[in-house]
Point group: C2
Chain length 227, copies 2
DNA sequence: CGAAGCTTTGACAACTCTCAAGACTTGTGG
DNA sequence: CCACAAGTCTTGAGAGTTGTCAAAGCTTCG
């Protein structure tokens, strides 16, 4: 992973695109830009590890990453899959707490780093920022509770169906945010089971699969599978 | 569930005990007390339902409750088990978002209700409060990620062992925060499976069980079970 | 071209879920 | 005070699903 030289004004523009920072006045953005940088990395590179304390806010501008956590038995489980644009681990970083998971890039990515202290200062002078931040953490919380509830589902095929339905666009298409192996782990199953689940749905004519691209053909029938 | 008549000064005292509000000046506490009340309820009563928008902060002073979420197949899964004292669903309530789960009392409980608007005002005038709030949400996030990682564990006995080890005090004892049925759901298994897992651990002499009280006899051996 | 990693398919064992029934506790009403 | 109902917990037996192990096809990268 290497740093990309970036002119100050470009940095300000990038920071303005970070959801919860967009409403800051320009002089504040200038201030943040002074301690910011953009870094690039490739698939497999580790952004941070579980237990570390982050010194910088991480804004995933391009690419994707997975959050994993070591289970008691030593294996790793995918907790979350991020696609750009996304703010990663904001709460832990702001509070200076140890990060609850490990972040690994799933493809070529560009990440904007903003100094933790500078953001903290901005938050304290602009109370609205804190509420915005809370909002984005709340989003994460919702997704986690949803994910947790889905894990209770008895059938693996039902979990896959629910997952697909939660990610389709208007035309019924979707792109998996990571390798099938990672998605399988995120759904709490083995890669083989995920493969079999997709095969079963495909054979029933409910979906079509080509690599990470999936087309849902029968929304109603797929919904019925969940029960 | 019924409201308990409470003198103003007592209310102020109670509010002072709410973790993230304790550092507010007395005049602010007085203000909060004006729109606060204490309510009591018994086992089975519903505090709020998934999808509702909460108008009041909820501080569980005494008792316990479970958060459940309806799964795609219609059944309910326990997302979280609270024991007093605890702040419940703070982020969603502060932001006026729909609550992500349903809260049901697991025993006789007393809950302090504080008006959402008053808290919101306090947060905006005291930036530190927002950070404290973020901290308590962060705690919840940590627990959820941990819980999610545990669900990946292949063996049910391993999940139970990990859960018990995460809750023992110095003497190796612990009390289940709810009925075994609820704990089972929280751990992502059927009540029968949970019962069998406990029986297996008991037969190996690793734990002793009497109702909701559990005594761990061999910490090292129990740790070994997780793998 | 070879190595490494992801994906798919097969076969088998192991586990959990489901269904069923009985022991036990608690609260209600006769 | 007892009987009954309702709910929880435990134990048993069978069916079904998933994890595991193994092998082969495929892509990517050096």
């Amino acid at each position: 992973m290497h740093t990309v030289q970036t002119p100050r004004e470009t940095l300000v523009d990038r920071i303005r695109q970070v959801e919860f920072l967009s409403l800051l006045p320009s002089e504040h953005l200038e201030l943040l830009a002074r301690s910011s940088m953009i870094r690039e990395g490739d698939k497999g590179e580790v952004l941070f590890r579980q237990g570390q304390v982050g010194a910088q806010f991480l804004w995933l501008m391009e690419g994707g990453l997975r959050l994993t956590r070591t289970q008691p038995d030593g294996r790793e489980k995918v907790i979350h899959l991020f696609s750009s644009p996304a703010l990663v681990a904001e709460a832990a970083i702001l509070l200076g707490q140890p990060l609850p998971a490990t972040a690994t890039l799933t493809g070529p990515s560009r990440i904007l780093h903003i100094d933790r202290g500078a953001v903290r200062e901005a938050v304290q002078t602009h109370p609205d920022l804190a509420l915005n931040l809370l909002g984005s953490v709340m989003l994460r919380l919702r997704e986690l509770t949803r994910s947790l509830a889905n894990h209770g589902q008895s059938s693996g095929v039902a979990r896959v169906a629910a997952y697909l339905l939660g990610r389709v666009d208007e035309s019924g298409a979707l792109v998996l945010p990571a390798s099938k192996k990672d998605v399988a782990s995120y759904l709490g199953m083995q890669p083989e089971s995920f493969s079999r689940a997709l095969a079963a749905l495909k054979q029933q004519g409910l979906i079509e699969v080509r690599d990470q691209q999936i087309q849902v053909c029968d929304l109603a029938a797929l919904s019925a599978v969940m029960r």
